[in-house]
């Protein structure tokens, strides 16, 4: 595996490894937060006391790392880079060198973010949303270079994913194999390019906003400082204009993975291939006009709240259609339950809860009470965690044979699923009630408030469950590392799936396919009347009519 390779598969594995590294760091930060919330101002085992500003830094970096340095690299860059060329029958991405550059710019962004922990004043502590004026003046948080490096790391990460997005879109538009029309693309490819378009067209204003914030902090401009004629609300608009499409950029590939896995283990076509695509496009377009539901109470003009409340609740419709399509896929199917399918169903089940709690946040009056409380935290963990961890694990278990050439252990996989599923719900269902009780986000010590005292036992329960959730990842780590070298050797198509990546070797050759595949049908022709088998690969020539 050449370090500076331009092979999309190697680059995918590099993104995956960096994403998993950051997932560990993000997870350990969770441990610090949860311990401080359950047992305020006691020594965290293995760390020590947590001061309030340090707690703010941990909250900020947990959010930043999980969204930008775990979810994006794993779901978009790792799965996208590995799967798109293989699934459309291409030899590599359209711009291999640009692809390599995108990883190394992301590695630089990671280095800058890591460095921001060790500069004087510590890392950024103004929340992963970094609202000015708190983030615009060093003395408000006591963090100077930490926040500057945080902004620089984000800017580099945006540049890296812009390059990646250009690669994904150009490859899918131009490098499809003969016969691979747009409506024969596997759904995960549809989801990846929709996510790439959302990212490309929404990140611009935030890059402008970040330039302005960096200038406020370093050059002395007053974009967001009212005393200099600036507007603090401007950042919130620019940030969330990007922020909401961003959460769909993370969600769509996760849904795409589930949509790939379900038909394979149900031996049944995905239900409503075209309705799902139209829903995805509709959700993508709607995602550009929902952002201000983050700002109902931010001092924004109250008249704006209703249009955004309506678009927010309406955007639940396309996702409801996708969920119904997934459920309809299971109807009259022939379902088997290897680990990828367990995680896929787990993703669907948990995403349903996340989607439903979104309706509460989308309704402006209810948001008056639950905004900036732990109800919101529980909501976005049900949506982001389901897409990143459950769908991410589903994808890892499913494509591990193709990526690394070995099979993963099923028993360890199932243990890992059930532990993660149970403890995930044990952590985040009670969090809804802590939120309804009024507990505000980003507070280091709930005991400072009388009205939060009765909620403290729930906080302790959540912390204990979170520790078990962290520990239940051990079976995965063992399984992942052991199978890399000692797992059963995988053949070309262990899952008997139709999509093109399963026609290549495991792991594929440098140029993926021995000969350029020709595509004859949709990727979901399972249990098709045309074939005695219950699967029909995309590149299998149609059976010549018996004479």
């Amino acid at each position: 595996m050449k370090i500076f390779s331009t092979d999309h598969k190697t680059i995918a594995k590099q993104y995956l490894s960096l994403g998993l590294f950051w997932a560990i760091v993000g997870g350990l930060l969770t441990h610090l937060m949860r311990w401080q919330l359950a047992y305020p101002d006691t020594e965290v085992p293995g760390w020590g006391f947590i001061a309030p500003d340090f707690y703010n830094m941990v909250v900020t970096m947990h959010g930043t790392i999980m969204v930008f340095f775990v979810a994006m690299p794993i779901l978009l860059a790792a799965f996208g880079n590995f799967l798109i060329p293989l699934m459309i029958g291409a030899q590599d991405m359209a711009f291999p060198r640009l692809n390599r550059l995108s990883f190394w710019v992301f590695a630089l962004a990671s280095a800058v973010l890591l460095a921001s922990f060790f500069v004087p004043g510590g890392a950024a502590s103004a929340g992963w949303t970094g609202y000015p004026p708190l983030s615009a003046k060093a003395e408000y948080t006591g963090v100077n270079w930490g926040l500057n490096l945080w902004l620089l790391a984000l800017a580099l990460e945006f540049v890296s994913f812009l390059m990646g997005g250009i690669n994904f879109l150009t490859t899918t538009i131009n490098l499809r194999a003969p016969g691979m029309t747009f409506f024969r693309l596997p759904l995960i490819v549809w989801m990846q390019i929709t996510a790439a378009v959302l990212f490309m067209l929404s990140v611009g204003p935030l890059i402008a906003g970040a330039v302005m914030l960096l200038m406020d902090r370093v050059v002395g401009t007053t974009f967001y400082l009212p005393e200099g004629g600036g507007q603090p609300l401007l950042w919130q608009h620019l940030f969330w204009f990007f922020g909401h499409p961003e959460v769909y950029v993370i969600l769509l590939p996760g849904l795409g993975i589930v949509l790939e896995i379900m038909p394979v283990f149900s031996r049944k076509p995905i239900f409503g291939y075209r309705p799902i695509i139209y829903s995805t496009i509709a959700a993508g377009m709607l995602s550009f006009i929902v952002w201000a539901h983050h700002q109902f109470l931010s001092g924004m003009d109250p008249r704006l709240a209703m249009p955004f409340s309506i678009t927010t609740i309406v955007i639940s419709v396309p996702f409801a259609l996708i969920v119904f399509a997934m459920i309809a896929t299971l109807w009259r199917a022939s379902i088997s339950f290897p680990t990828p399918m367990l995680f896929a169903i787990g993703t669907l089940s948990i995403f349903i809860i996340g989607g439903l709690t979104g309706i509460f946040n989308g309704s402006a009056p209810v948001d008056i009470y639950i905004h900036d409380t732990y109800f919101v935290v529980a909501h976005f963990h049900y949506t982001l965690f389901s897409a990143t961890f459950f769908a991410g694990f589903a994808g890892l278990y499913y494509w591990f044979p193709k990526m690394f050439g070995h099979m993963m252990n099923e028993i360890l996989g199932k243990i890992h699923f059930w532990l993660t599923f149970i403890f995930f719900n044990a952590v985040f269902i009670p969090m809804h009630f802590v939120g309804l009780g009024g507990m505000m986000r980003r507070i280091a010590n709930p005991m400072q408030y009388d009205f939060l005292q009765p909620l403290q036992p729930i906080n302790v329960f959540i912390t204990v469950a979170a520790i078990f959730l962290l520990l239940s990842q051990i079976p995965f780590v063992i399984n992942f590392l052991w199978s890399l070298f000692r797992g059963r050797v995988a053949e070309r198509n262990p899952r008997q799936a139709n999509t093109l990546e399963w026609t290549a070797l495991s792991p594929p050759l440098h140029d993926n396919f021995e000969r350029v595949p020709v595509v004859y049908r949709s990727p979901y022709e399972y249990s098709s009347p045309e074939s005695p088998e219950d699967w029909l690969p995309q590149d299998q020539p149609p059976a010549v009519a018996q004479s």
Binding site: A51, P52, D53, Y55, A126, Y131, P133, T141, P232, L233, S266, R267, K268, I270, F271, G272, Y273, P275, L297, S298, G299, P302, R303, S309, I310, I313, V317, A320, V323, F324, I327, A328, L330, A333, S334, I335, S349, I352, L356, I359, F360, S363, P365, V366, Y369, H371, G437, G438, M440, R441, R442, I443, A444, Q448, Y449, D450, F451, Y526, S527, D534
Partner: protein
């Protein structure tokens, strides 16, 4: 059922709670329907030897109806929630009723500076009185709060009054509430505002009419 929420002592709090329960019932129904269907399908259609799955691509309109119709139901329920929500929002945030008492609350890193207009009823006059973190109001009266901030964004949060409104530096935002039950309620800050965000807390004292008059007399004795 309202054990999840802190005690509601606000006139418009009931509307917010009832809207919450409306959404809870709708989403609860969807939750049971979808998770139930998944469980049933997983058990009923698990893989059995010799039994093939049905070939239902779901692209034709007739087949797709199975997901489009539930989709339509979601649309109508969404509209119902939106209409109910629009009306409640207009009443709470849409316009501010004429207040019987107006105070100015200036948020700053890490407490609430509350300025009372005094007997002349106008802010910015000599008889104004400033108290930190203590808001004294009469029950059953509309209180208008003029929110300002000296440094960063804070959020004026009264859980028991179901009221939350960010205080943005450089802007004056008016919020209002009418407390129905005397008592002592907390005013935490709900927006990250620096290392003192955790613990930034004020107190709302809702007095009966007599207690309030007594309190006023103690503060402005020369009358």
């Amino acid at each position: 059922m309202s054990s999840w929420f802190p005690e509601n002592v606000s006139t418009f709090g009931g509307d917010i709670d009832s809207l919450f329960y409306l959404i809870l019932y709708i989403t609860g129904a969807w939750f049971l329907l979808t998770q139930g269907l998944i469980l049933v399908f997983l058990i009923k259609y698990r893989r059995r030897e010799g039994q093939r799955a049905a070939y239902i691509p779901g692209n034709s309109l007739k087949q797709a109806a199975w997901i489009l119709i539930p989709g339509l139901i979601v649309v109508f329920l969404d509209l119902w929630i939106d209409l109910r929500g629009a009306e409640v929002w207009a009443r709470i945030k849409g316009h501010v009723p004429p207040g019987d008492l107006q105070v100015q609350v200036t948020a700053k890193q890490f407490n609430w500076e509350i300025i009372y207009p005094g007997p002349d009823g106008r802010l910015g006059t000599v008889d104004d009185l400033q108290m930190d973190n203590e808001l004294h109001v009469p029950a059953g009266k509309v209180v208008r709060v003029v929110l300002k901030s000296k440094d960063v964004i804070h959020s004026f949060f009264l859980p028991n009054l179901r009221l939350k409104q960010d205080a943005v530096p450089g802007r004056e935002i008016v919020a209002w509430f009418e407390a129905t039950k005397p008592g002592k309620y907390e005013i935490p800050c709900a927006e990250l505002c620096g290392f003192g965000h955790s613990g930034m807390n004020g107190w709302l004292f809702v007095h009966t009419a007599e207690e309030y008059q007594k309190w006023v007399k103690e503060r402005w004795p020369e009358k």
